[in-house]
Amino acid sequence: MEEMPLIQPWGDVEGPVPEVPTYLDEIARHVMQRYDMQVNEIQLITTKPDKGGAIWYIATDKGPRSLKCLHRTPPRSLFSVGAQEYVVSKGARVPALIPNQDGLLYTEAGGKLWIVTDWISLTPASKADLTGAQTLCYGLGEFHRHTQGYVPPQGAIVASRLYGYPKQYYKIWNKMSWFRHIAQAYHDMPASARLLAMIDRYEQQALTALYNLEYHSPYLSLIARGEETWGLVHQDYGWSNGQEGPGGLWIIDLDGVAYDLPIRDLRKLISGTMDDMGFWDVTWMKGMIDAYQAANPIEPELFQMMLLDFAVPNEFYKNVKEVVFEPHIFMDEQFDALLQKIDQTEDSKWAALQEFGIRLQNPPADYRPNPLFVELRRPTTPLQAEDAAKLQANWYLPPEPQAAPLPSSPATVYEPKPVPAEAVHTAPLKETPKVALQENLQEMQTIQPKVKKQTSKQPLKPATKPVAKSPAKPVSKAATKATAAPVQPVQPVQPVSQKLADLTANQLIQGIASPEKLLSKEDTKQLLVEMGISPEVAERAISKQNSLASTMISFSLLMQTLQGKGKK
């Protein structure tokens, strides 16, 4: 591929007409050439100048399509690309990614990932009545259900907000004092008096939410189920990213998806709708929640979490947080009027939450947020064996024949619109697209591990006899033949040493950073057994030091396997 400039942000906000720099147009043209299509017309639809992303409408001989430059870093975008492919395979109404001529579902160019999908003709659901909102909620429930079980491709940076609730609540609480100090320092501004008078109430709400999150909520037990169990949350869902199209509601712009509790999208959608209405309407809220539940039932604990997430002063925070930037301009009469409106809406919000049965404990007077809880983060412990096995498997394998969709909860009153059967997919997948990860990962990763030439390493101590000698020959012999073959589906009877040998050099190099992704504990054990070590000793070696032993064993195996291939 010829040299292309790296795509950089080119401005702050989009002007009246979307524009991109000339070089980006050129990269777009270059990207389009890598697809099996004749492009007759190109039209820039929307841009993210501050992030470096854009969407084009392209008329092709294969029909109207969309070309999108994802603004995030490639490993981060890979997470959402994998997610999009996954939900399509599960039958979600999300535009399917069209493979390029290399069979890849994305094209890397200019330091970004690009995707091509069919252009689906969509119309926004009605915003004026509850039916439109219900359509949106039902579609959201379907989407969430389809995302369950998603495992990102290797090399993807995982996007997760599942563990971020304490930090988020804390941040909102903590910033209330910033707002207060700004209002004090800028007391001569029109809105400062009202802002000062309002802050106490919202500060207390945020603290109460944080306190309940830690001590009186099912949060920790819910997130303990893990990211894949919960699946993905869109994070930017509303009337523009969920629209009606062939077969029902379509969901687009998946770039921001992250593991999360599914109620986050629903909560945001309801908060936003109520905020826009200027009144928290229980009938609407019930209708929206019921419609969601018809597609994806909410268990009682999760419902409780949703109520708690409502209790956070989200709307106040969202409207006020910009005050730290240029308060001498921001806190004008207009802002004062906005504050007035927020305060008026607030009473109806709490009346509505009461009707849903919200129960909050007041924090004790001496309550201070617990720093350990606030700094909760994704667990660093290695993936469990079954996860590793999943990662080993070919994540883009053709979807299994579709299971019948879950029946919607009989208790619910919401019935989605009937779907015309012929209009389900505008572009059914003709063949399974390949995602040649092994070729692209290396360019994408920021860490480029070097492989030492001297690799005849002794394995670790746990085994009673040396394990380096016996397997070295078959492994490295087999290894020399494999070069850049795509990942093979794992055969059930395949010996583990063979499995290792079948991996490409690049995969092995990538695997050094986390070999447990290449080799599960079970496989590590089996490999040791294949080397002639007794199963008991192997078992002990692996279980001895948590995952460390297996990690290191697999590392030394990788080192052996690497001998004779892929040394660069």
């Binding site: 700004i182 947080k321 350990l372 909760l376 591990p449 002794q458 950073a513």
Partner: protein, 375 residues
Amino acid sequence: MKVLLIVTEKLPVPPVRGGAIQTYIAGIAPQLARHHDLTILGRTDPLLPDHEVADGITFDRVPGGHFELYRQGVVSYLDGKQFDLIHIFNRPLMVSAVRQAAPNARLILSMHNDMFLPNKITAEEAKLAIADAERIVTVSDYVGRTISNLYPEAAPKLKTIYSGVDLNRYLLSTEAQRVRQELRDLHGLNGKKVILFVGRLSPKKGADILLRSLPQLADKHPDAALVMVGSRWYSDDNISDYVAYVRALAARSPIPVVTTGFVDAAEVHKWFWAGDVFVCPSQWQEPLARVHYEAMAAELPIVTTRRGGNPEVIDGQNGIVIDNPEDPASFAAAISDLLHNATKRRDFGKHGRVLAERNYGWERVIREILEVWSG
């Protein structure tokens, strides 16, 4: 003895890209190498060869950046090598791997911050690290306490060795007086009483609290000025909410606020020379900020907070400890006290220098580390 120091995976040694631990190791290594056969194992860097011998120290470098990757590199590096003693810096997660790879070496672990907290290491792994290490050296009593509170079995292995400062570089010489005047001229600080803040702009470091104390100071000290060193005020694009907040507060400050932007570590001592009162408004339980040693070495009286290890280096004659760090009025009172009283400022500064010379030079750090190594 054949001794190996294992640096963290983040930054290389020598500290061509900065880093507190890296600076620390660079400060002590040349002297240590006079007593022992010293190898430093760190991460690779485009600016540095993977292997070199310099100043009698062997440097070996394996790929870093990512901890797991680095740990595996360390393990494979150790294979077939013999060291009498291996000193691991700030990575308890490294200890058991090294123990397995070098079963006969003595292991020492140095702790520079809170890597033993439960969100950084599981109890199982922490206990293994404690069991495998012969001694655990900490940069403050506070860091040691955070370990022994969680793992009482660590207590007998703990030893505080305070960090050090280059005493010569910070010495308030005639040249230093000239530089002080130059900097003050350059930034319109002539005739001002300069309050000095050195550090990142982050909520943990508390610049916002210091700024909020200024209105209360201004009445009594209209001739005061605040200098904020090393903080990134105007980064190219997205400034964080916190930086915006601090800037908004500074814009309404009744006394001048001078910001220097990023200052190279090799130049930062000059700003210590230019100050009159040094303030460390840390809000978090920090291990023990290096700036305290630097302020003492430059004869500056200190106002710091009762957070983490910071109060351990204040004896009442070199600075003031704020018991309630969230309260701007406490800062205003302490700073005001020092600004009022030139004699007190001078006495505190002089005493700080005496303490620094007695306790916080690199010589003392080296001596104590050698003692730990000798068993």
